[in-house]
Symmetry: C2
Subunit: 416 residues, 2 copies
């Protein structure tokens, strides 16, 4: 069963979780002075509208009409009951998922790429730069800038640039320009750190250019709350009062935040973050101020971190290989409002294949972390004989990650 | 704008166009005797329920509940108004498309894979074989057999097997087994002809196995009519009395038939088939009896054909490289109820990129043939100042065909 909403039900305001957090957010600090950063520090990189959202305490923030018009190309996304998975597991749990894979770029990322492109356009910025690892975020931003007629330059980790040509082609099809990073050393395989440095340097040194980030920051999670807001309305259509638990995978925190934040005010709803065992930020990191990037160029954020120089093993869920996490997510975990768990990728791909063979669609490796946890929760509910209501975010499809499935099916996966 | 229908509106009966054809269909002939084939000739390969559908003159044929249950995983598919494309073209035409790319396999093919797997299951057949070229059909059948717990063996054209590993991995993720064809000559690049021979030989020599075909036959087009039936209801929701023209790309004819056949009885609706200039079956073929396969093993079909030994150039729209066409489609063209046109692939990819940069999604190379014709119709409507209503079938996404876009964007496309 699927519950669709008409175009007219795309949320017209984003939900700001800040007033509902268990403790105040600690401010980002300037990397040089270690004093709280002000709007002027951020102005060379971001438009004022996004800087204002970043620090806003307003409970709701309006979605501009031009953003709504683009979101309506694929939103509202369907809420789906995973009845065949329930049947395969023999569980009394009722499993629902929000299908964010239906966007043009194949994931939840365009939910923030579109408003970021728009607010830049509004301030006359016709060129954006960004970094991309596996390519999900870079393709979302190229899609968004194509629709607003802006230029987009993507610095792609050189190893991915060489190994994953399909993501590069996707970005070029939308008119984006993609170069391997680091730009100054053609022998270097690159990392998210080098790519951020390249993208920030480009934006900081050109008057006509801003920089765009796909996760971690408050305004990014804010834009993603359309997911949870729609899910609430659709669960009501399905006759559910509330989910008992909301589950999402967590790399920087944007898809998890998108589905979970609107449920924060309801203490009856449990929230669960799922991360890879090879990059266990929330489950094994220290809670402290750290840089957002490897090179130490960004402001310091208060968050769980494995250290900004931590290099995670090269697992297939490239979108989850981040040393830190969104300050909002870390705040919720630190103060007990959200739980976190970690899985090695072998168990994750077992869950992914079980999902594909029962529900039919092939999930992204990142999304499959959430699915692993969902299956374990559903099996626990079977033990307890309890008809638990589980909601999770199907954050993206795996059609551009099939080589990972190939490794799994043919015993070549490193079980990190 | 998108128009969704609830799960309950998946059509519960298929529309049989046979009673509405301008002339009776000519029967298939036995390849040996050249006499009309009977059910017994087909029984080693197909279940009786499908053989009955193949020759049925009933106006409607019920969709079994178990088939509906699976179709509801992604159906009804959305009807979308391509407003941004209209704007980019400055046309008064209103362009609508049926988005069949949302299926788990990414195209319209599962609409027939599911009932074919089901009717075989019903007769106790636990193993199916088929051929696949680029892989769209093979992946649809592996998806369907996964959900009914059957085995599926796919003979994949060796050149594709080596060049397109992602489609193979997709089939394996659903539990299918995929081998390169021809099986007996590892140096041979293979063709659809060799793969059909391998798949038919396998099915004909094993008691427990049937063969499954993804296009051309009457029962395949029948199963696809859910597309046009839903579109009719959704156009009414959008306030349109009828489309002025219905457009689909045509390789074997199944996606075109799916959207067009329910409109055959309405003489006000123009029907247009779009094929590649490099394989111009309807526009340049002869209307005569010919074999369905290259090797001459199948019954002879009455159709337009370029000759069963015609080998089309290796264009990117692999799904349109077929020497013949569905007898139902040929009947409509022969008797003037449907028009046909052909385009070279360079103009097709220009249209595809224009679509991606205005509407956001990246179409399959096959689908892009329809889009080329849609754009030309919309531009003609602009010339005439006429608000023509255009409906087309967005038969699949291009996410596993991005290398074709790479060739186009970097000037490496052969404009055949």
């Amino acid at each position: 069963m699927r519950w669709n909403l008409p175009n007219s039900r795309v949320p017209e305001a984003w939900f700001n979780v800040v007033p509902h957090l268990p403790a105040p957010l600690e401010p980002p600090l300037h990397p040089g002075t270690r004093e709280p950063v002000g709007p002027d520090d951020l102005a060379p990189l971001f438009p004022m509208a996004l800087i204002a959202q970043e620090v806003s305490a307003d409970p709701w923030i309006d979605v501009p009409g031009a953003v709504l018009d683009v979101l309506k190309l694929w939103r509202p996304t369907p809420l789906v009951r995973a009845s065949r998975l329930e049947e395969a597991l023999g569980t009394p749990a009722r499993i629902y998922y929000k299908d964010e894979s239906v966007s043009p770029a194949g994931s939840h990322k365009p939910n923030t790429a579109v408003p970021q492109a728009f607010f830049n356009k509004l301030e006359g910025v016709e060129r954006l730069t960004t970094e991309t690892g596996a390519g999900q975020w870079g393709s979302a931003l190229c899609f968004a800038t194509a629709l607003f007629g802006q230029e987009c330059k993507v610095y792609m980790v050189r190893a991915s640039y060489n190994q994953k040509p399909y993501r590069r082609v996707m970005m070029e099809t939308w008119g984006g320009s993609v170069v391997p990073s680091p730009v100054d050393d053609p022998e270097h395989p690159g990392s998210l750190g080098t790519a951020i440095s390249d993208a920030v340097r480009d934006a900081a040194t050109r008057e006509d250019t801003h920089y765009s980030l796909g996760s971690v920051l408050n305004h990014v999670l804010l834009h993603q709350t359309v997911i949870g807001l729609e899910a609430k309305e659709q669960l009501a259509m399905a006759g559910e009062e509330r989910p008992d638990i909301v589950i999402g995978c967590c790399g920087g925190g944007s898809n998890l935040g998108g589905i979970a934040l609107p449920f924060v005010p309801d203490p009856e709803v449990e929230l669960l973050a799922v991360e890879p065992a090879s990059c266990p930020t929330l489950t094994e990191g220290r809670y402290e101020y750290d840089f957002g990037d490897t090179a130490g160029m960004t402001p310091l954020l208060s968050m769980y971190t494995l250290g900004h120089d931590f290099i995670p093993p090269s697992i297939h869920a490239g979108g989850l290989r981040y040393h830190g996490d969104a300050p909002i997510i870390c705040n919720l975990v630190k103060h007990g409002r959200m739980r976190a768990t970690a899985y090695p990728q072998g168990k994750v791909f077992e869950a992914a294949v079980q999902f594909a063979r029962s529900q039919g669609t092939i999930p992204a490796p990142e999304t499959s972390h959430a699915i692993r946890a969902v299956i374990d929760e559903a099996l626990a509910a079977k033990e307890d004989g309890r008809p638990k209501v589980i909601l999770f975010n199907y954050s993206g499809h795996g059609l551009l990650d099939l080589s990972a499935y190939d490794d799994h099916l043919h015993g070549r996966l490193i079980d990190a």
